[in-house]
């Protein structure tokens, strides 16, 4: 059960004057149960790559293997792939359409051809997992607050019980509190279910706390692919491509420069606090 991306290239509108290379020679392996952060600037190809993973975009060149099967094989069941690889788009609340939240969440599992009982069970379960308040289940999705709408939309994908959940900028446009809540919920979800999660973001700060691995993309190729501490060690190179390491990284490096013997690899505020206390002791 894993995803292998093998030398994938993608060109937008090939053969026209607008042709543009969006992905060049991407090779990745995503094992089960990992929490991966994918970071890149706008236009770095991160969203394009994510849409390859559930077959919405077909690579111009290269192969993608899911559980050992090539998804570009002629007899490969794309519908099944899409139920196994859940993709939550940016601003997912824009896809809501049903008269109430609960029926909207039912849309995904219903499309899988499950019976009514199972569909409703899954919808209920998914809404609970994203922390959606029960008293709002039968509200119109258009009357909810931004954060609640987003939860409902994420639940809509989660209800399909995917093995891999891809979230494209799930915190875009939310206030800091809403952001922390959503990210915390996703982390909890990953710990409880052991689901593989790919979190796309342009902010290191967002993902540093939660992920096991960071993939940095720049201009359609992979720049770094490592554990957070190692990626942040390249903070100067990251700045050159318009990204920044978390503020903690900067503080730790500054402290080291000033002569405090701390390990600059701390990525979260908690780790950094402990590290500084240890060094001062």
């Amino acid at each position: 059960m894993s995803m292998i991306i093998d030398h994938v290239n993608y060109i937008y509108e090939p053969g026209t004057p607008h042709a543009r290379k969006a992905l060049s020679d991407i090779c990745l392996q995503i094992p089960d149960g990992q929490f991966v952060g994918i970071i890149g600037h706008t236009g770095s190809g991160k969203s394009t790559l994510m849409q390859h993973l559930n077959g919405l975009i077909r690579a111009t060149e290269g192969h993608i293997y899911f559980n050992g099967e090539d998804i570009y094989d002629d007899d490969y069941d794309m519908k099944k792939l899409r139920s196994n690889v859940g993709l939550v788009f940016q601003y997912p609340e824009h896809q809501l359409f049903e008269i109430d939240v609960f029926s909207d969440v039912c849309f995904g599992p219903k499309n899988l051809g499950l019976d009514k009982r199972e569909v409703e069970l899954r919808a209920f379960d998914a809404l609970r997992k994203v922390g959606f308040p029960e008293e709002l289940f039968y509200q119109s999705p258009f009357e909810l607050s931004g954060g609640q709408k987003r939860r409902a939309a994420i639940a809509g994908v989660l209800a399909m019980k995917p093995d891999i959940l891809i979230l494209d900028e799930p915190t875009a446009g939310l206030d800091p509190k809403g952001r922390d809540e959503i990210l915390g919920q996703i982390k909890k979800l990953q710990q409880e279910t052991g689901m593989t999660i790919l979190l796309v973001s342009h902010s290191m700060e967002d993902v540093a706390e939660y992920v096991d691995r960071i993939i940095v993309m720049n201009k359609g190729s992979i720049m770094y692919d490592d554990i957070p501490a190692n990626v942040f060690a390249h903070y100067r190179e990251l700045e050159e491509v318009g990204l920044a390491a978390p503020q903690v990284t900067y503080i730790m490096h500054k402290l080291r420069e000033k002569g405090l013997p701390v390990d600059a690899g701390a990525t979260t505020i908690e780790e950094a606090t402990e590290e500084i206390l240890r060094a001062l002791r």
Partner: protein, 267 residues
Amino acid sequence: MLRDITLGQYYQTESVIHRMDPRVKLGGTLLFIISLFFFKNFLGYAIAALFLAVVIKLSGVPFKFMVRGMKTIILLLMITVVFNLFLTPGTPLVSFWKLTITIEGAKLAASMAIRLTLLIIGSSLMTLTTTPNNLTDGMEKMLRPLRVIKVPVHEVAMMMSIALRFIPILLEETDKIMKAQIARGADFESGNIFKRAKALVPLLVPLFISAFRRANDLAMAMEARCYRGGEGRTKMKPLKYKKRDYIAYLCILVYMVGSIFVGRLSF
């Protein structure tokens, strides 16, 4: 799929046709279309085609682009040709089964096909070389005299430019929502017509909501910048005729007189 429509698309490049005043292009296109309906012989069409070829060459738009726009109307063209071919009364040329092709029918079908092709290519050339904004500006200025009879020229022009501006945005939005619903297992491609129509609900509802939201935002943004209609409104780049525009008008005039004179000769 939706992106293949060339009609109404702008092709960015540098050329004398691109720099021309939109009023010249609008007027020229209109006159060109009118001229097509005056011809009585094929020599007129030959002159029109030649004129168009020269303008296309000057515009620097690859011919491939024009042909792509043709694809969307090929069906209409076929129907017109078939109807004219078989349903025109006159001297029979060939006949088989219950169908008869007459000499008049063949001539009419051929001239119809040529006329439609030239018409479409001519008008798509205008939109390929003029930005939508420029086009509506030109239209507004050309129709200004109609204000005397209380036609809201500015408002109509503004609505048109907004509508044109929204086409690519809504196309992109459709694409995004479609993908999001496909990712949730929606199926837009199989089933009978009723099933397919029903499958569009998850696409159309969010699309309409987003269109209304965008319209609302735009209205708000315009009001915040004190937009209140065309009264007393000035332009940052007012349209002004230059030397090349007068030359272009002259060329069009020469073409009109020449082609219609030759096109109406009877041999």
